[in-house]
């Protein structure tokens, strides 16, 4: 397995497309082992795209591209420049708020980042934000989606650890809002340092606000209508993307009348390219993960680390550091699958509330979506913004640091997390 890791890093350094660097190094494991059928890598790749939950990704990508062509994005940009145009880097604030709203609909950070990357890219670049900064804030803010319910990571943790999904969902709300606030502040700080000017000097007059709001009302309603549909049980989170597409179509054809057949076909074309680059990475990573699972690497390491100490807070610290590092090399879903059953009993004996622990665990693991060497969200936003990983890291490390700060706050102030579930479900 060591060889697999070395090859993976080597291939990436050689400038091989990331998807193939992951897939080829992953396949080396099977060749090395020699006892497993070589058909398994083929199976793993195929099975990955038969996952109903992953189907949300192409749907939201399609929705994002359609929103651009139907005039909804333009109005969203106009509305946001009226509402937050007097802030520095107002559009970066918009993506933070938008993720908080999308958090109530989608459970996938990848889907959110690819949709918003598509929607906001041109607007952000036109306003002179650097590629690294824009990709950075869209990537980081997409983590909000994984905390605000519904959340795929929390469902997985809850099912494996037999922890109430309802409580976990309620517990995710405050950290989600905390992330939103932190990133809001982070954008303000970075924008000042980088000298991004506000689009307008003063707050827009109320009258202008009202008229623009009316003009752009369908853009504003986009996430709200989706949320209502979800709460009414018309669709499940995995199906929400399809409704976003239909919403964009209806508004684009009937209300704004900007969507033509030609534009529709063009949208499908750019969607195809996006799906190709995103899904190839995701499918190949299934091949890579298998060896790690087969060798029981995370479990073995986790048990070894847990043996290092018996002091509760040291153990907690070890767990968090371990999750942080593990998340850098592996998909968070696979890690939740492998590690929940090891850490939940440990957390239990330490007297840590399992809902609290679940939030810490899922939040910490999702940080890995943003970090090299293997961060799927990072790859997605970097490819949409055509920026290098170096640029991305250089310009968004502050945002990542803020996410880690939220993790720390959540660890040391369990009340932040447990307040809402206790309120809804009793103690």
């Amino acid at each position: 397995m060591a060889l697999v890791f070395v090859l993976f890093l080597l291939f990436m350094m050689m400038g091989m497309p990331v998807a193939f660097a992951i897939g080829i190094s992953g396949a080396v494991f099977f060749v090395q082992l020699g006892t497993l059928p070589m058909t398994i890598p083929v199976q793993l790749f195929l099975t990955q795209s038969q996952n109903f939950v992953l189907l949300a990704i192409p749907l939201f990508v399609f929705a994002g591209n359609l929103l651009n062509e139907t005039g909804i994005t333009n109005r969203l940009l106009k509305l946001s420049s009226i509402l937050v145009g007097h802030y520095r880097a107002g559009l970066a604030q918009v993506t933070v708020v938008l993720s908080a709203m999308m958090g109530g609909i989608s459970g996938s950070a990848i889907a959110d980042a690819s949709m918003q990357g598509r929607i906001l890219r041109d607007g952000m670049l036109a306003r002179g934000y650097s590629r690294g900064f824009s990709a950075g804030i869209i990537g980081t803010s997409s983590l909000i989606v994984t905390m605000i319910p519904p959340s795929i990571g929390l469902v997985l943790y809850g099912s494996i650890g037999e922890v109430s999904i309802g409580r976990l969902f309620a517990a995710g709300i405050v950290p989600g809002l905390l992330l939103t606030a932190m990133l809001f502040a982070g954008v303000a700080y970075v924008a000042r340092r980088k000298g991004y000017q506000p689009e307008r000097q003063t707050r827009a007059p109320l009258k202008e606000m009202a008229s623009t709001f009316l003009e752009c009302i369908w853009a504003f309603f986009f996430p709200i209508i989706l949320m209502v549909g979800l709460r009414m049980g018309i669709f499940t989170p995995s199906e929400a993307g399809a409704f976003a597409v239909v919403y964009a179509l209806v508004i684009g054809i009937l209300v704004y009348k900007e969507l033509t057949w030609k534009k529709f076909l063009k949208t499908l074309e750019s969607t195809a390219v996006d799906i190709g680059m995103i899904m190839l990475v995701i499918n190949m990573s299934a091949i890579f993960s298998y060896g790690i699972t087969w060798e029981r690497l995370p479990e073995t390491l986790a048990y070894a680390l847990l043996g290092l100490s018996s002091v509760p807070w040291v153990i907690m610290l070890i767990i968090v550091l371990f999750l942080l590092v593990a998340g850098m090399f592996m998909d968070s879903t696979v890690l939740i699958l492998l590690l929940t059953s090891i850490f939940v009993p440990v957390a239990g004996t330490l007297g840590i509330d399992l809902v609290h622990f679940g939030i810490v665990m899922v939040l910490t693991l999702t940080v890995g979506l943003l970090t090299p060497p293997l961060g799927v969200v990072m790859f997605v936003v970097c490819s949409i913004f055509e920026c290098s990983v170096i640029e991305f890291v250089k310009e968004s490390w502050i945002f990542m640091a803020l996410v880690v700060l939220v993790v720390l706050l959540v660890i040391f102030f369990p009340g932040l997390v447990l307040f809402l579930p206790n309120l809804f479900f009793g103690t």
Partner: protein, 311 residues
């Protein structure tokens, strides 16, 4: 042959359930007994939550000779030998004792032989019984007509879909993990599950009633690849099978014994258990599934061998 004796074997055994489910402990017990009895020559490593992969994929892998095993059900095995799916049909059999009897029947033996010789799937045993499946809903279910128009989540395979349709509900295929949220948002009206599932997912938070329809007795199979199995010395083959049966039966009986406590737990959490279910009406309705899926002949043959009257 001392050299063959020294050879060590490893089996990776995969199941889809959570590690907190009694099954996981059951498989671990099996692994431990096999290790002890074989003096460490045969090791079984158990993976939960489908960590090793999707059930269908694992079955293909073991057919190709990988040292992998899987806990599966008759719906999946029915893809290879269609008649086996009958064991998943509504009200086919209803007790663990009947499951034990099944394994001796010539017809069942013949099915298993076909699985082994034609498809390379070796069934170690099917003594793993998860229990009777009941209805989790927000209205009490006493009669098939109470299910009319209700969207009930069920696994995707045709035998599941048709069984649920036969007893009056509208089947909806959703992943297991989505049950909680789908119930909460009313995307579905209910699900059909065993007691243990309701506790695991804490479904009392989103549903009020658990009606004991007992429409399906969920039987699981422990399978490995024939090629790998044949590579084992005979002694180890025997140990593997005998211990699997023992562990399976013990786990099934344990889960059955736990139902009383499970019932208490559900009630304590505010759920109403409906016990006055018109089982006869459900049983009669369930017949439709056999006709639709062409399983009547298989059922009648098994009943004949069991010495039971055919409906």
């Amino acid at each position: 042959q001392p050299q063959a004796d020294a050879e060590k074997f490893v089996l990776r055994f995969n199941h889809v359930l959570a590690p907190t489910e009694p099954y996981h402990q059951g498989f671990l017990n099996w692994a431990e007994q096999v290790r002890v009895r074989s003096n460490g020559r045969l090791t079984i490593e158990v993976s939960h939550s489908a960590a090793l992969g999707r059930e269908e994929d694992i079955i293909e892998q073991l057919r190709m000779g990988a040292n992998i095993g899987q806990n599966t059900d008759s719906a999946r095995l029915g893809m290879y030998v269609p008649a086996i799916a009958v064991m998943n049909a509504p009200f086919f059999i209803e007790t663990i004792d009947d499951v034990v009897k099944l394994k001796e029947l010539p017809t069942v033996q013949q099915w298993l032989k076909e699985l082994e010789l034609k498809f390379g799937i070796k069934v170690l045993s099917f003594q793993w019984v998860q229990g009777l499946r009941h209805m989790v809903t927000n209205v009490p279910i006493r009669h098939p007509r109470d299910l009319a128009g209700l969207r009930i989540r069920t696994p995707g395979a045709p035998i599941w879909q048709e069984s649920v349709r036969a007893i009056g509900a509208t089947p909806v295929a959703l992943p297991f993990g989505e049950i909680y949220t789908a119930l909460q948002t009313d995307a579905i009206d209910g699900a059909e599950l065993v007691y243990r599932n309701v506790i695991g997912a804490k479904l009392w938070e989103t549903a009020d009633y658990f009606s004991e329809t007992g429409h399906i007795l969920l039987i699981n199979f422990s399978i490995v690849g024939r090629a790998w199995f044949d590579s084992l010395p005979e002694e180890l083959q025997t140990i593997l099978i005998e211990e699997n049966m023992k562990a399976g039966l013990a786990t099934s009986r344990g889960m059955e014994a736990d139902i009383a406590a499970a019932r208490e737990l559900l009630i304590a959490n505010g759920m109403t258990i409906v016990t006055d279910v018109d089982r006869a009406a459900f049983r009669a309705a369930g017949n439709a599934a056999y006709t639709v899926l062409n399983l009547t002949a298989a059922r009648d043959q098994i009943y004949k061998e069991l010495g039971r009257p055919t409906p």
